[in-house]
Protein backbone atom coordinates (compact mmCIF):
# COMPACT_ATOMS: atom_id res chain seq x y z
CA UNK A 1 0.00 0.00 0.00
CA UNK A 2 1.21 3.55 -0.65
CA UNK A 3 0.75 5.21 2.71
CA UNK A 4 0.41 8.82 1.51
CA UNK A 5 -1.54 8.20 -1.70
CA UNK A 6 -4.73 9.67 -0.22
CA UNK A 7 -2.81 12.77 0.88
CA UNK A 8 -1.44 13.14 -2.65
CA UNK A 9 -4.96 12.86 -4.09
CA UNK A 10 -6.19 15.50 -1.63
CA UNK A 11 -3.32 17.81 -2.53
CA UNK A 12 -4.17 17.41 -6.24
CA UNK A 13 -7.85 18.11 -5.57
CA UNK A 14 -7.06 21.20 -3.50
CA UNK A 15 -4.90 22.64 -6.27
CA UNK A 16 -7.14 21.80 -9.22
CA UNK A 17 -10.40 22.94 -7.60
CA UNK A 18 -8.89 26.17 -6.24
CA UNK A 19 -7.03 27.12 -9.42
CA UNK A 20 -9.44 26.07 -12.14
CA UNK A 21 -12.83 26.28 -10.43
CA UNK A 22 -12.17 28.82 -7.67
CA UNK A 23 -13.73 26.37 -5.22
CA UNK A 24 -12.40 25.48 -1.81
CA UNK A 25 -12.94 21.85 -0.92
CA UNK A 26 -13.18 19.63 2.12
CA UNK A 27 -12.76 15.89 2.26
CA UNK A 28 -15.11 13.24 3.54
CA UNK A 29 -15.22 9.53 4.01
CA UNK A 30 -15.12 8.02 0.53
CA UNK A 31 -17.88 5.49 1.09
CA UNK A 32 -20.45 8.13 0.22
CA UNK A 33 -23.12 6.61 -2.02
CA UNK A 34 -23.70 8.14 -5.42
CA UNK A 35 -27.42 7.91 -6.11
CA UNK A 36 -28.03 5.44 -8.89
CA UNK A 37 -31.12 7.22 -10.17
CA UNK A 38 -28.97 10.13 -11.35
CA UNK A 39 -26.83 10.33 -14.45
CA UNK A 40 -23.14 10.23 -13.63
CA UNK A 41 -20.00 11.17 -15.49
CA UNK A 42 -16.66 9.49 -14.82
CA UNK A 43 -13.33 10.64 -16.22
CA UNK A 44 -10.45 8.16 -16.30
CA UNK A 45 -6.72 8.59 -16.91
CA UNK A 46 -4.25 5.70 -16.80
CA UNK A 47 -0.68 5.58 -15.51
CA UNK A 48 1.88 3.19 -16.94
CA UNK A 49 5.59 2.68 -16.28
CA UNK A 50 7.17 2.11 -12.89
CA UNK A 51 3.76 2.97 -11.49
CA UNK A 52 0.64 1.39 -12.98
CA UNK A 53 -2.89 2.42 -12.22
CA UNK A 54 -5.95 4.44 -13.18
CA UNK A 55 -7.50 7.51 -11.59
CA UNK A 56 -11.23 8.16 -11.86
CA UNK A 57 -13.08 11.38 -11.20
CA UNK A 58 -16.69 10.53 -10.59
CA UNK A 59 -19.43 13.16 -10.45
CA UNK A 60 -23.16 13.40 -10.93
CA UNK A 61 -24.23 15.19 -14.08
CA UNK A 62 -25.63 18.18 -12.18
CA UNK A 63 -22.30 19.01 -10.56
CA UNK A 64 -20.43 18.20 -13.78
CA UNK A 65 -22.56 20.89 -15.44
CA UNK A 66 -21.73 23.35 -12.64
CA UNK A 67 -18.02 22.61 -13.00
CA UNK A 68 -18.33 23.16 -16.76
CA UNK A 69 -20.02 26.55 -16.20
CA UNK A 70 -17.40 27.52 -13.68
CA UNK A 71 -14.39 26.45 -15.75
CA UNK A 72 -15.57 27.94 -19.02
CA UNK A 73 -17.36 31.00 -17.64
CA UNK A 74 -20.70 29.96 -19.07
CA UNK A 75 -24.26 29.93 -17.85
CA UNK A 76 -26.01 26.57 -17.79
CA UNK A 77 -28.00 27.27 -20.96
CA UNK A 78 -24.79 28.02 -22.87
CA UNK A 79 -23.49 24.46 -22.46
CA UNK A 80 -23.57 22.84 -25.89
CA UNK A 81 -24.46 19.20 -25.28
CA UNK A 82 -22.64 16.54 -23.34
CA UNK A 83 -19.43 16.82 -25.34
CA UNK A 84 -18.51 20.02 -23.52
CA UNK A 85 -19.21 18.46 -20.11
CA UNK A 86 -17.26 15.31 -20.98
CA UNK A 87 -14.32 17.40 -22.13
CA UNK A 88 -14.27 19.37 -18.88
CA UNK A 89 -14.51 16.22 -16.75
CA UNK A 90 -11.76 14.61 -18.83
CA UNK A 91 -9.52 17.67 -18.48
CA UNK A 92 -10.07 17.94 -14.72
CA UNK A 93 -9.22 14.23 -14.38
CA UNK A 94 -6.13 14.82 -16.51
CA UNK A 95 -5.01 17.66 -14.23
CA UNK A 96 -5.37 15.47 -11.14
CA UNK A 97 -3.43 12.74 -12.94
CA UNK A 98 -0.69 15.17 -13.95
CA UNK A 99 -0.31 16.39 -10.37
CA UNK A 100 -0.02 12.82 -9.09
CA UNK A 101 2.36 11.80 -11.86
CA UNK A 102 4.67 14.67 -10.90
CA UNK A 103 4.74 13.59 -7.27
CA UNK A 104 5.33 9.96 -8.27
CA UNK A 105 8.09 10.87 -10.74
CA UNK A 106 9.87 12.97 -8.11
CA UNK A 107 10.10 9.89 -5.91
CA UNK A 108 11.45 7.70 -8.73
CA UNK A 109 8.19 6.10 -9.85
CA UNK A 110 8.34 7.56 -13.34
CA UNK A 111 5.38 6.82 -15.55
CA UNK A 112 3.40 8.21 -18.45
CA UNK A 113 -0.26 9.12 -18.37
CA UNK A 114 -2.81 8.30 -21.02
CA UNK A 115 -5.21 10.69 -22.70
CA UNK A 116 -8.46 10.94 -20.71
CA UNK A 117 -11.52 8.80 -21.35
CA UNK A 118 -15.01 9.69 -20.13
CA UNK A 119 -17.95 7.40 -19.41
CA UNK A 120 -21.44 8.65 -18.62
CA UNK A 121 -24.72 6.98 -17.82
CA UNK A 122 -26.90 5.68 -14.99
CA UNK A 123 -26.51 2.88 -12.54
CA UNK A 124 -22.89 2.01 -13.16
CA UNK A 125 -20.08 1.66 -10.71
CA UNK A 126 -16.33 1.30 -10.91
CA UNK A 127 -14.92 -1.70 -9.14
CA UNK A 128 -11.31 -2.84 -8.83
CA UNK A 129 -10.22 -6.18 -10.23
CA UNK A 130 -8.95 -8.54 -7.60
CA UNK A 131 -5.50 -7.66 -6.37
CA UNK A 132 -5.66 -3.96 -7.23
CA UNK A 133 -5.15 -1.48 -4.42
CA UNK A 134 -7.93 1.09 -4.07
CA UNK A 135 -7.52 4.62 -2.72
CA UNK A 136 -10.54 6.88 -2.64
CA UNK A 137 -11.30 10.40 -1.50
CA UNK A 138 -14.65 12.15 -1.48
CA UNK A 139 -14.15 15.81 -2.38
CA UNK A 140 -16.85 18.19 -1.23
CA UNK A 141 -17.33 21.67 -2.70
CA UNK A 142 -20.27 23.29 -0.89
CA UNK A 143 -23.08 20.74 -1.11
CA UNK A 144 -21.68 18.97 -4.14
CA UNK A 145 -19.18 16.17 -4.15
CA UNK A 146 -17.02 14.19 -6.52
CA UNK A 147 -15.32 10.91 -5.83
CA UNK A 148 -11.65 10.60 -6.75
CA UNK A 149 -10.62 6.99 -6.91
CA UNK A 150 -7.21 5.55 -7.71
CA UNK A 151 -6.77 1.89 -8.55
CA UNK A 152 -3.15 0.77 -8.41
CA UNK A 153 -1.49 -2.42 -9.59
CA UNK A 154 0.72 -3.50 -6.69
CA UNK A 155 4.47 -3.67 -7.39
Amino acid sequence: MIKDMEDMIKSAANEVFATMLNMSVTFEHPDIQMQDSQTHVAGAVGFTGKFNGVIYLYSNLEFARKMTCCLLGLTDDQIEGNEMINDVVGELTNMHAGHLKSRLSDRGQSCVITIPAVVSGRDFRIEPVSGAERYAVCVRANKNCVLLEMLVKPE
Binding site: S11, N14, E15, V16, A18, T19, M20, N22, K66, C69, C70, L71, L72, G73, L74, T75, D76, E83, M84, D87, V88, G90, E91, N94, M95, A97, G98, H99, K101, S102, R103, L104, S105, D106, S110, I113, I115, N142, K143, N144
Partner: protein, 374 residues
Protein backbone atom coordinates in the same frame (compact mmCIF):
# COMPACT_ATOMS: atom_id res chain seq x y z
CA UNK B 1 -1.61 44.30 -36.54
CA UNK B 2 -3.17 41.55 -34.41
CA UNK B 3 -0.93 39.05 -32.66
CA UNK B 4 -1.59 35.52 -33.91
CA UNK B 5 -1.68 32.84 -31.22
CA UNK B 6 -2.10 29.17 -32.08
CA UNK B 7 -3.36 26.87 -29.31
CA UNK B 8 -2.81 23.18 -30.01
CA UNK B 9 -4.62 20.96 -27.54
CA UNK B 10 -6.87 17.94 -27.85
CA UNK B 11 -9.01 19.35 -25.05
CA UNK B 12 -11.64 21.75 -26.25
CA UNK B 13 -11.83 23.00 -22.68
CA UNK B 14 -8.23 24.17 -22.73
CA UNK B 15 -8.65 25.74 -26.17
CA UNK B 16 -11.71 27.64 -24.89
CA UNK B 17 -9.83 28.81 -21.77
CA UNK B 18 -6.90 30.02 -23.89
CA UNK B 19 -9.27 31.79 -26.27
CA UNK B 20 -11.07 33.47 -23.39
CA UNK B 21 -7.80 34.55 -21.76
CA UNK B 22 -6.91 36.67 -24.79
CA UNK B 23 -10.40 37.94 -25.53
CA UNK B 24 -9.64 41.42 -24.26
CA UNK B 25 -6.37 41.69 -26.21
CA UNK B 26 -5.79 42.54 -29.82
CA UNK B 27 -5.15 38.90 -30.73
CA UNK B 28 -6.36 36.31 -33.14
CA UNK B 29 -6.47 32.93 -31.42
CA UNK B 30 -6.41 29.93 -33.76
CA UNK B 31 -7.07 26.37 -32.66
CA UNK B 32 -5.87 22.89 -33.55
CA UNK B 33 -6.75 19.61 -31.85
CA UNK B 34 -3.51 17.68 -32.43
CA UNK B 35 0.02 18.01 -33.80
CA UNK B 36 -0.94 17.26 -37.40
CA UNK B 37 -3.58 19.97 -37.46
CA UNK B 38 -1.23 22.25 -35.53
CA UNK B 39 1.53 21.93 -38.15
CA UNK B 40 -0.96 22.63 -40.92
CA UNK B 41 -2.26 25.78 -39.23
CA UNK B 42 1.27 26.91 -38.31
CA UNK B 43 2.44 26.53 -41.93
CA UNK B 44 -0.53 28.41 -43.27
CA UNK B 45 -0.87 31.19 -40.68
CA UNK B 46 2.70 31.64 -39.32
CA UNK B 47 1.54 32.46 -35.76
CA UNK B 48 3.57 34.70 -33.45
CA UNK B 49 3.33 32.21 -30.56
CA UNK B 50 2.25 28.58 -30.29
CA UNK B 51 0.77 27.23 -27.05
CA UNK B 52 1.30 23.50 -27.34
CA UNK B 53 -0.03 20.65 -25.21
CA UNK B 54 2.28 17.70 -24.61
CA UNK B 55 -0.08 14.73 -24.48
CA UNK B 56 -2.37 14.49 -27.51
CA UNK B 57 -3.60 11.74 -29.80
CA UNK B 58 -2.59 11.45 -33.50
CA UNK B 59 0.60 13.51 -33.04
CA UNK B 60 1.72 14.64 -29.59
CA UNK B 61 3.30 17.96 -28.67
CA UNK B 62 6.84 16.59 -28.54
CA UNK B 63 6.71 15.34 -32.11
CA UNK B 64 5.03 18.49 -33.38
CA UNK B 65 7.76 20.55 -31.71
CA UNK B 66 10.56 18.53 -33.28
CA UNK B 67 8.91 18.93 -36.71
CA UNK B 68 8.53 22.66 -36.16
CA UNK B 69 12.20 22.93 -35.23
CA UNK B 70 13.24 21.07 -38.39
CA UNK B 71 11.18 23.26 -40.72
CA UNK B 72 13.08 26.34 -41.89
CA UNK B 73 10.21 28.82 -41.93
CA UNK B 74 8.62 27.58 -38.69
CA UNK B 75 11.55 26.90 -36.41
CA UNK B 76 11.78 30.43 -35.05
CA UNK B 77 8.16 30.54 -33.84
CA UNK B 78 8.28 30.68 -30.01
CA UNK B 79 6.53 27.74 -28.36
CA UNK B 80 5.06 27.62 -24.85
CA UNK B 81 4.46 24.06 -23.75
CA UNK B 82 1.44 23.23 -21.62
CA UNK B 83 1.82 20.19 -19.47
CA UNK B 84 -0.22 18.55 -16.75
CA UNK B 85 3.00 17.22 -15.24
CA UNK B 86 5.16 19.43 -13.01
CA UNK B 87 7.74 16.80 -12.03
CA UNK B 88 11.38 17.82 -12.23
CA UNK B 89 12.19 15.19 -14.87
CA UNK B 90 9.35 16.31 -17.10
CA UNK B 91 10.16 19.99 -16.71
CA UNK B 92 13.82 19.41 -17.56
CA UNK B 93 12.84 17.26 -20.54
CA UNK B 94 10.60 20.07 -21.83
CA UNK B 95 13.30 22.68 -21.24
CA UNK B 96 15.76 20.61 -23.29
CA UNK B 97 13.36 20.48 -26.24
CA UNK B 98 14.03 24.12 -27.01
CA UNK B 99 10.75 25.66 -25.96
CA UNK B 100 10.59 29.30 -24.93
CA UNK B 101 8.57 28.64 -21.77
CA UNK B 102 6.24 26.13 -20.21
CA UNK B 103 3.17 26.23 -18.04
CA UNK B 104 1.87 23.51 -15.76
CA UNK B 105 -1.83 22.72 -15.60
CA UNK B 106 -3.85 23.72 -13.66
CA UNK B 107 -3.25 27.35 -14.57
CA UNK B 108 -5.08 30.65 -14.32
CA UNK B 109 -5.89 32.64 -17.43
CA UNK B 110 -3.73 35.54 -16.28
CA UNK B 111 -0.73 33.17 -16.08
CA UNK B 112 -0.99 32.24 -19.75
CA UNK B 113 -1.41 35.93 -20.67
CA UNK B 114 1.65 36.81 -18.59
CA UNK B 115 3.77 34.09 -20.25
CA UNK B 116 2.73 35.16 -23.75
CA UNK B 117 3.31 38.82 -22.90
CA UNK B 118 6.94 37.98 -22.13
CA UNK B 119 7.33 36.96 -25.78
CA UNK B 120 5.11 39.38 -27.70
CA UNK B 121 3.68 42.74 -26.77
CA UNK B 122 0.01 42.21 -26.10
CA UNK B 123 -2.19 45.23 -26.52
CA UNK B 124 -5.63 45.59 -25.03
CA UNK B 125 -8.28 46.23 -27.60
CA UNK B 126 -8.26 49.69 -26.00
CA UNK B 127 -4.55 50.13 -26.73
CA UNK B 128 -2.76 49.61 -23.39
CA UNK B 129 -0.23 46.82 -23.08
CA UNK B 130 -0.53 43.70 -20.92
CA UNK B 131 2.84 44.45 -19.39
CA UNK B 132 1.60 47.68 -17.86
CA UNK B 133 -0.29 45.76 -15.23
CA UNK B 134 -0.96 47.18 -11.80
CA UNK B 135 1.00 46.36 -8.70
CA UNK B 136 -0.59 45.11 -5.52
CA UNK B 137 0.20 48.42 -3.84
CA UNK B 138 -1.37 50.57 -6.58
CA UNK B 139 -4.68 52.31 -5.76
CA UNK B 140 -7.88 50.42 -6.64
CA UNK B 141 -11.51 51.39 -6.42
CA UNK B 142 -13.69 48.66 -4.95
CA UNK B 143 -17.47 48.82 -4.70
CA UNK B 144 -19.15 46.82 -1.96
CA UNK B 145 -22.91 46.33 -2.17
CA UNK B 146 -24.01 45.03 1.21
CA UNK B 147 -26.76 46.30 3.51
CA UNK B 148 -24.70 45.46 6.63
CA UNK B 149 -22.47 48.43 7.31
CA UNK B 150 -20.41 46.29 9.71
CA UNK B 151 -19.18 44.45 6.62
CA UNK B 152 -18.01 47.77 5.11
CA UNK B 153 -16.03 48.37 8.29
CA UNK B 154 -14.57 44.85 8.15
CA UNK B 155 -13.47 45.41 4.55
CA UNK B 156 -11.87 48.73 5.41
CA UNK B 157 -10.06 47.23 8.43
CA UNK B 158 -9.07 44.01 6.65
CA UNK B 159 -7.66 45.88 3.64
CA UNK B 160 -6.21 48.79 5.63
CA UNK B 161 -2.66 47.78 4.65
CA UNK B 162 -3.50 48.55 1.00
CA UNK B 163 -4.21 51.89 -0.70
CA UNK B 164 -7.52 50.51 -1.99
CA UNK B 165 -10.64 52.65 -1.74
CA UNK B 166 -13.73 50.81 -0.47
CA UNK B 167 -17.09 52.41 -1.35
CA UNK B 168 -19.98 50.75 0.49
CA UNK B 169 -23.61 50.85 -0.68
CA UNK B 170 -26.57 49.46 1.26
CA UNK B 171 -28.86 49.30 -1.77
CA UNK B 172 -28.35 47.69 -5.16
CA UNK B 173 -29.81 50.68 -7.01
CA UNK B 174 -27.43 53.22 -5.43
CA UNK B 175 -24.48 50.88 -6.10
CA UNK B 176 -25.56 50.58 -9.75
CA UNK B 177 -25.79 54.35 -10.14
CA UNK B 178 -22.34 54.90 -8.63
CA UNK B 179 -20.78 52.16 -10.76
CA UNK B 180 -22.38 53.66 -13.87
CA UNK B 181 -20.70 57.00 -13.28
CA UNK B 182 -17.34 55.79 -11.89
CA UNK B 183 -16.49 52.28 -13.09
CA UNK B 184 -14.52 50.55 -10.30
CA UNK B 185 -11.82 47.90 -10.61
CA UNK B 186 -13.76 45.30 -8.68
CA UNK B 187 -17.21 44.75 -7.20
CA UNK B 188 -18.50 42.71 -4.27
CA UNK B 189 -22.22 42.01 -4.10
CA UNK B 190 -23.99 40.44 -1.13
CA UNK B 191 -26.26 37.58 -2.14
CA UNK B 192 -28.43 38.33 0.91
CA UNK B 193 -29.56 41.78 -0.22
CA UNK B 194 -33.39 41.88 0.22
CA UNK B 195 -35.62 40.52 -2.57
CA UNK B 196 -32.75 39.00 -4.56
CA UNK B 197 -31.38 42.49 -5.27
CA UNK B 198 -27.81 41.15 -5.32
CA UNK B 199 -28.59 38.88 -8.26
CA UNK B 200 -30.55 41.66 -9.96
CA UNK B 201 -27.52 43.96 -9.63
CA UNK B 202 -25.24 41.27 -11.05
CA UNK B 203 -27.47 40.80 -14.12
CA UNK B 204 -27.67 44.57 -14.66
CA UNK B 205 -23.88 44.89 -14.50
CA UNK B 206 -23.34 41.98 -16.86
CA UNK B 207 -25.74 43.41 -19.41
CA UNK B 208 -23.89 46.74 -19.60
CA UNK B 209 -20.99 47.13 -22.03
CA UNK B 210 -19.15 49.19 -19.43
CA UNK B 211 -19.21 46.49 -16.79
CA UNK B 212 -19.78 43.23 -18.65
CA UNK B 213 -16.19 42.12 -18.07
CA UNK B 214 -15.65 43.57 -14.58
CA UNK B 215 -14.80 41.03 -11.89
CA UNK B 216 -17.81 40.67 -9.59
CA UNK B 217 -17.57 38.55 -6.46
CA UNK B 218 -20.55 37.23 -4.53
CA UNK B 219 -20.47 37.78 -0.77
CA UNK B 220 -22.30 35.08 1.09
CA UNK B 221 -22.56 33.62 4.57
CA UNK B 222 -20.57 30.38 4.68
CA UNK B 223 -23.65 28.27 5.39
CA UNK B 224 -25.83 29.83 2.65
CA UNK B 225 -24.96 27.09 0.19
CA UNK B 226 -28.03 27.63 -2.00
CA UNK B 227 -27.07 31.27 -2.55
CA UNK B 228 -23.52 30.19 -3.36
CA UNK B 229 -24.72 27.56 -5.84
CA UNK B 230 -26.94 30.15 -7.52
CA UNK B 231 -24.08 32.66 -7.63
CA UNK B 232 -21.86 30.03 -9.20
CA UNK B 233 -24.54 29.15 -11.71
CA UNK B 234 -25.20 32.71 -12.89
CA UNK B 235 -21.49 33.31 -13.34
CA UNK B 236 -20.13 35.47 -10.54
CA UNK B 237 -16.35 35.70 -10.90
CA UNK B 238 -15.94 34.05 -7.50
CA UNK B 239 -17.51 33.65 -4.09
CA UNK B 240 -16.25 35.17 -0.86
CA UNK B 241 -17.73 33.67 2.29
CA UNK B 242 -18.41 35.41 5.58
CA UNK B 243 -16.65 35.44 7.98
CA UNK B 244 -14.12 36.84 5.55
CA UNK B 245 -10.57 35.54 5.44
CA UNK B 246 -8.80 38.71 4.32
CA UNK B 247 -5.51 37.01 3.48
CA UNK B 248 -7.41 34.76 1.09
CA UNK B 249 -9.43 37.72 -0.21
CA UNK B 250 -6.27 39.66 -1.08
CA UNK B 251 -5.00 36.62 -2.93
CA UNK B 252 -8.24 36.38 -4.91
CA UNK B 253 -8.14 40.08 -5.79
CA UNK B 254 -4.50 39.77 -6.82
CA UNK B 255 -5.31 36.86 -9.10
CA UNK B 256 -8.46 38.17 -10.68
CA UNK B 257 -6.97 41.60 -11.45
CA UNK B 258 -3.59 40.14 -12.41
CA UNK B 259 -1.87 42.42 -9.89
CA UNK B 260 1.86 42.11 -9.65
CA UNK B 261 2.57 41.01 -6.08
CA UNK B 262 5.95 39.47 -6.85
CA UNK B 263 7.82 42.32 -5.13
CA UNK B 264 6.45 40.97 -1.82
CA UNK B 265 8.27 37.68 -2.31
CA UNK B 266 11.36 38.55 -4.35
CA UNK B 267 13.82 41.29 -3.56
CA UNK B 268 17.38 42.02 -4.69
CA UNK B 269 19.25 42.91 -1.52
CA UNK B 270 22.88 42.91 -0.34
CA UNK B 271 24.08 41.28 -3.56
CA UNK B 272 21.59 38.40 -3.50
CA UNK B 273 18.11 37.56 -4.69
CA UNK B 274 16.14 37.14 -1.45
CA UNK B 275 13.04 34.95 -1.61
CA UNK B 276 10.75 35.94 1.27
CA UNK B 277 8.32 33.37 2.65
CA UNK B 278 5.55 35.36 4.41
CA UNK B 279 4.17 34.43 7.82
CA UNK B 280 0.77 33.65 6.25
CA UNK B 281 2.38 31.23 3.76
CA UNK B 282 -0.23 28.97 2.13
CA UNK B 283 -0.46 26.80 -0.96
CA UNK B 284 -2.01 29.73 -2.85
CA UNK B 285 0.97 31.92 -1.98
CA UNK B 286 3.27 29.06 -2.96
CA UNK B 287 1.59 28.97 -6.38
CA UNK B 288 1.97 32.73 -6.78
CA UNK B 289 5.62 32.59 -5.77
CA UNK B 290 6.27 29.71 -8.17
CA UNK B 291 4.62 31.64 -11.01
CA UNK B 292 7.23 34.43 -10.68
CA UNK B 293 10.26 32.28 -9.89
CA UNK B 294 11.71 31.97 -13.40
CA UNK B 295 11.23 35.65 -14.17
CA UNK B 296 12.81 36.83 -10.90
CA UNK B 297 15.78 34.45 -11.02
CA UNK B 298 16.41 35.43 -14.63
CA UNK B 299 16.30 39.12 -13.67
CA UNK B 300 18.77 38.45 -10.84
CA UNK B 301 21.18 36.67 -13.19
CA UNK B 302 20.79 39.50 -15.71
CA UNK B 303 21.66 41.94 -12.91
CA UNK B 304 24.87 40.03 -12.22
CA UNK B 305 23.81 38.40 -8.93
CA UNK B 306 25.15 34.93 -8.17
CA UNK B 307 23.48 34.15 -4.84
CA UNK B 308 19.94 33.31 -3.78
CA UNK B 309 18.81 33.45 -0.16
CA UNK B 310 15.60 31.77 0.95
CA UNK B 311 14.27 33.84 3.86
CA UNK B 312 12.20 31.75 6.28
CA UNK B 313 12.58 34.19 9.20
CA UNK B 314 8.87 34.99 9.23
CA UNK B 315 7.91 31.33 9.64
CA UNK B 316 7.60 29.49 12.92
CA UNK B 317 7.79 25.96 11.51
CA UNK B 318 8.49 24.03 8.31
CA UNK B 319 6.82 21.00 6.76
CA UNK B 320 7.48 18.75 3.80
CA UNK B 321 5.47 20.70 1.19
CA UNK B 322 7.41 23.85 2.14
CA UNK B 323 10.71 21.97 1.96
CA UNK B 324 9.74 20.70 -1.51
CA UNK B 325 8.92 24.24 -2.59
CA UNK B 326 12.27 25.54 -1.33
CA UNK B 327 14.07 22.63 -3.02
CA UNK B 328 12.41 23.60 -6.31
CA UNK B 329 13.54 27.21 -5.87
CA UNK B 330 17.09 26.08 -5.16
CA UNK B 331 17.08 23.64 -8.04
CA UNK B 332 16.04 26.32 -10.49
CA UNK B 333 18.62 28.71 -9.05
CA UNK B 334 21.25 25.97 -9.36
CA UNK B 335 20.42 25.48 -13.03
CA UNK B 336 21.40 29.13 -13.55
CA UNK B 337 24.53 28.67 -11.38
CA UNK B 338 23.24 30.68 -8.41
CA UNK B 339 24.48 29.55 -4.98
CA UNK B 340 21.67 29.08 -2.46
CA UNK B 341 21.35 29.49 1.30
CA UNK B 342 18.53 29.61 3.82
CA UNK B 343 17.96 31.94 6.75
CA UNK B 344 15.51 31.32 9.57
CA UNK B 345 14.98 31.34 13.31
CA UNK B 346 16.74 28.84 15.59
CA UNK B 347 13.59 26.68 15.61
CA UNK B 348 13.24 26.70 11.83
CA UNK B 349 16.94 25.92 11.30
CA UNK B 350 16.72 23.10 13.81
CA UNK B 351 13.63 21.75 12.03
CA UNK B 352 15.42 21.94 8.69
CA UNK B 353 18.11 19.59 9.97
CA UNK B 354 15.46 16.92 10.58
CA UNK B 355 14.81 16.27 6.91
CA UNK B 356 16.97 14.07 4.72
CA UNK B 357 16.42 16.46 1.80
CA UNK B 358 17.78 19.49 3.68
CA UNK B 359 21.04 18.10 5.03
CA UNK B 360 23.12 19.93 2.42
CA UNK B 361 21.51 23.32 3.02
CA UNK B 362 23.61 26.27 4.09
CA UNK B 363 21.73 27.67 7.10
CA UNK B 364 22.14 30.89 9.06
CA UNK B 365 20.14 33.25 11.25
CA UNK B 366 20.51 36.44 9.22
CA UNK B 367 21.21 37.70 5.73
CA UNK B 368 24.63 39.03 6.72
CA UNK B 369 25.61 35.67 8.23
CA UNK B 370 24.50 33.62 5.25
CA UNK B 371 26.28 35.97 2.84
CA UNK B 372 29.51 35.35 4.74
CA UNK B 373 28.95 31.58 4.55
CA UNK B 374 28.22 31.73 0.83
Amino acid sequence: MSIKILTVDDSRTIRLIVGRAFKTYDCEVMEAANGVEGLAVASREKPDVIILDVTMPVMDGTEMLSRLKSTADLKSIPVIMLTAEAGRENVLRIARMGVRDYLVKPFKEDQIVERVSRIVELKNRGGTTAKSKKRFDDPLKIVLADDKTAIWDQFKAGLSDTPWQIDGFAQAQSALENIGSHVPDLIFVSTSLPDGAGFWLFQKLRSSVKTEKLPIFALSVKTAVDDQARAQQVGFTGIVTKPIDFADLKMKITRVLGLDASYKYYEQKSGALVVNYPSNYTQSIANDMAAHLQEKVTEAVDAGLDKLVVDLTQLKSVDMPLIEQVLNVMKYAGELSLKSGVIGSDEVRQACTNFEETKEWLLAGSLDDIMKLM
